[in-house]
C-alpha cells in the first residue's frame, strides 16, 4: 500500500514550519505502511557548502572523530551534525565524490542516504511518528520536502529499503506502487555507470530520473519518460534542489490527492494527509490525472 506526501512552499513565512507540517502529513498516513518511514527536507541551498547525509547501524562507533578523519582524507574542512543513526556532513562543494570514496575506506559500514546543496534525508525502520521523533524532523526548516511510509512489497524491510531514494545530487523520490521491469532498467543504468545500493524497484526509478536529468532533461521531461520506460504501478513524488514533481502511471490505481493555495502545493496519498494544512478548506483540491506530469520550481 504505502503512503506518500509532499509539500512545496510558495510562501517563505511557512518555511520554519516545513518540518512540522510534513511530519504531521506523514503521521496521518501511518496505517498505509507500518514498516519504515522517511523524509527528505530541502533547506536553503548554499553555494559554498555541500551536505552529505549518512547513516550507520552503530553511530557511536562510526561517527566519533569522523569529521577530523574525513577532513584529513579529502584535504578540506568537514563538520558533522549527528542525529541518532544519521549524521549530516558539511564540506566544500566539489569534494562530495572524494568524501564518498574516503568514507568507503575509513568507515565501510556507513551508508550514504543522499547528498547535495540543499537536501537532508532521514529514514529508518519503524512508524512515521517514531522516525520523525528520532530525527527531530518537526523542528526542521525548509523550502520543500517529501515523505514516505512503507508497506514493503518488492524488497526487504531495512533502512536502505526505505524511501526516499536519492541517486543524484539534491534529487530524491518516493513511490507508491511496484515496478515490474526494474531489473532490466537497472541493468541498462548500470551499463551507463550508475551504482545501486539495493535490489529495490524504487531505487531504479530514482536512478532513471537522475540519468535522464544528467542527460540534460528537466524534471518535467524526465518524469514524462517514466510513462514509457517504466512498467508497473506508480505514483511518484520527486524533489530536486528547487523543484517538486508528481506523476502517476496510466492506470492510476495508486491514490493521489493534491491541494494548491497561494502558500503551498501539497500532495498526499489521501485527503487525510492534507486536512490540517493552513487554508485547506479554500484550497484547490484535485486528483492528479493519470499519465500527466505536474511540476513546480522555485
Amino acid at each position: 500500500m504505502c503512503g506518500i506526501v509532499g509539500l512545496f512552499l510558495k510562501d517563505k513565512s511557512l518555511e520554519p514550519q516545513l518540518g512540522s507540517m510534513l511530519s504531521q502529513m506523514l503521521i496521518s498516513l501511518s496505517d498505509r505502511g507500518p514498516d519504515s518511514a522517511g523524509i527528505a527536507i530541502y533547506g536553503a541551498p548554499s553555494k559554498n557548502e555541500a551536505k552529505i547525509t549518512i547513516q550507520s547501524a552503530r553511530p557511536e562507533r562510526d561517527f566519533r572523530g569522523l569529521d577530523a578523519e574525513l577532513a584529513k582524507a579529502i584535504g578540506a574542512p568537514v563538520s558533522i551534525a549527528v542525529k541518532s543513526t544519521h549524521a549530516v556532513l558539511r564540506t566544500v562543494p566539489g569534494k562530495v565524490d572524494a568524501a564518498r570514496e574516503a568514507l568507503q575506506s575509513i568507515r565501510p559500514d556507513v551508508r550514504i542516504m543522499g547528498a547535495g546543496e540543499a537536501v537532508e534525508i532521514y529514514k529508518e525502520v519503524g512508524l512515521p511518528e517514531a522516525v520523525v521523533d528520532r530525527f527531530d524532523v518537526r523542528s526542521m526548516t525548509g523550502t520543500h520536502g517529501i515523505g514516505h511510509t512503507r508497506m514493503a512489497t518488492e524488497s526487504a524491510v531495512t533502512t536502505m529499503g526505505a524511501h526516499p531514494f536519492s541517486t543524484g545530487a539534491d534529487q530524491c523520490l518516493v513511490h507508491n506502487g511496484s515496478l515490474s521491469n526494474h531489473n532490466n532498467v537497472r541493468r541498462e543504468l548500470r551499463r551507463e555507470g550508475m551504482t545501486f545500493e539495493t535490489e529495490n524497484d524504487t531505487e531504479v526509478a530514482a536512478a532513471y530520473l537522475s540519468s535522464q536529468m544528467a542527460h540534460g532533461k528537466n524534471l518535467g521531461e524526465a518524469l514524462e519518460g517514466t510513462l514509457s520506460d517504466l512498467d508497473g504501478f506508480f505514483t511518484f513524488v520527486v524533489g530536486t534542489k528547487n523543484g517538486f514533481g508528481v506523476v502517476r502511471d496510466r492506470i492510476a490505481c495508486k491514490p493521489a490527492v493534491m491541494a494548491e493555495t497561494n502558500q503551498y502545493v501539497a500532495f498526499g496519498s489521501e485527503y487525510r494527509a492534507l486536512t490540517k494544512l493552513p487554508g485547506i478548506d479554500n484550497a484547490r483540491v484535485w486528483e492528479p490525472e493519470p499519465a500527466t506530469v505536474y511540476f513546480w520550481e522555485h
Binding site: 496510466r250 492506470i251 492510476a252 490505481c253 491514490p255 490527492v257 489521501e270 485527503y271 487525510r272 494527509a273 492534507l274 486536512t275 483540491v285 484535485w286 486528483e287 490525472e289 493519470p290
Partner: protein
C-alpha cells in the same frame, strides 16, 4: 465549522450530530447500524470527517445523513435505503455496492465510485475519476462533471449519465448497462458502441436528470453508448485474442 453554529442547525432539523473529532468512526457506524425500522432518529449529521474512511457504511434504514466535509475510502458503501449527502469530496469507492437509497457528493469522487452498485442513485456534482461505475449491476449514477478512464468496465445493468466528458476505454466489455454522455468520449472500450437515442431513452434520461436535480440540460444533448453484444459468448474465431 464552529460547533455552536452546527448545533443550532442541528436543533432546527432535530438531527443527531456526530462529531468525528470527539466520537470514533466505529461509534458512528454502530449507532447507524443499531437503527431499527420506524426509528425517530431519521436525520443525522456527521461533522469533522476529515478524510475518514468508511463513513456511514452499511446503513439499512431510510434515514438522511449529511456529512459536513470530505471523506476518504468507501463512504456510504452498501447503502440500503439511506439518503446520504457528502458536503465535500469523496475518496475511492464511494457508494460501493449500493443496494438502494441515494448518495449525493457535492464535490468530486475518486476512483471506482458506485462500483458493483445494485440499486439506488449516486449523484456526483463534481468530477469522478477512473473506473466510475465499474461492474455496476443496476445502480443509477449521474455525474455533473467528467469521468475518468475505464469507467463502466464490465457494467451489467443500470444507467450512467455524464454531463461532461468520459476518459479512455469507456464501457469496456460492457453488458446491458446504458451509458449517456453529453461531452466527448476519449475512446470506447472493447465491445462498446454508440447507439441510437430512441424515445424511451429520452424519457428514461429525463427521469434520471430530474431525480438528480439537474436542470437546464436536455436529454437530446447526450449520446447513448452500450454493448455491441459480440463478446457475450466464446467465439472460436476470437481465440487469438485471449
Amino acid at each position: 465549522m464552529p460547533a455552536t453554529k452546527l448545533s443550532k442547525a442541528a436543533q432546527d432539523h432535530a438531527s443527531r450530530v456526530f462529531d468525528l473529532d470527539v466520537s470514533s468512526l466505529r461509534e458512528l457506524n454502530q449507532a447507524l447500524h443499531n437503527l431499527t425500522s420506524g426509528s425517530n432518529e431519521t436525520a443525522w449529521e456527521v461533522v469533522n470527517p476529515k478524510g475518514s474512511h468508511s463513513v456511514a457504511v452499511g446503513v439499512d434504514q431510510p434515514v438522511s445523513i449529511d456529512v459536513r466535509g470530505s471523506v476518504g475510502y468507501y463512504c456510504a458503501g452498501m447503502n440500503d435505503g439511506a439518503a446520504i449527502t457528502v458536503h465535500g469530496s469523496a475518496g475511492p469507492g464511494v457508494g460501493e455496492n449500493m443496494m438502494s437509497g441515494s448518495i449525493v457528493i457535492k464535490g468530486d469522487a475518486s476512483q471506482y465510485a458506485g462500483a458493483t452498485g445494485k440499486g439506488g442513485l449516486l449523484v456526483i456534482e463534481g468530477n469522478a475519476s477512473s473506473r466510475c461505475g465499474i461492474s455496476m449491476k443496476g445502480i443509477d449514477i449521474v455525474v455533473h462533471g467528467n469521468i475518468g478512464h475505464m469507467s463502466a468496465f464490465m457494467a451489467q445493468s443500470g444507467n450512467l449519465v455524464v454531463l461532461g466528458d468520459a476518459g479512455d476505454a469507456l464501457g469496456d466489455s460492457i453488458y446491458e448497462a446504458r451509458l449517456f454522455v453529453r461531452g466527448k468520449v476519449e475512446s470506447l472500450g472493447a465491445d462498446c458502441i454508440a447507439k441510437e437515442m430512441r424515445p424511451e431513452h429520452i424519457e428514461l434520461l429525463q427521469g434520471l436528470l430530474d431525480r438528480a436535480g439537474v436542470t437546464g440540460v436536455k436529454p437530446s444533448e447526450f449520446k447513448r453508448y452500450g454493448s455491441a453484444r459480440t463478446l457475450y459468448n466464446f467465439n472460436i474465431d476470437n481465440a487469438d485474442a485471449y
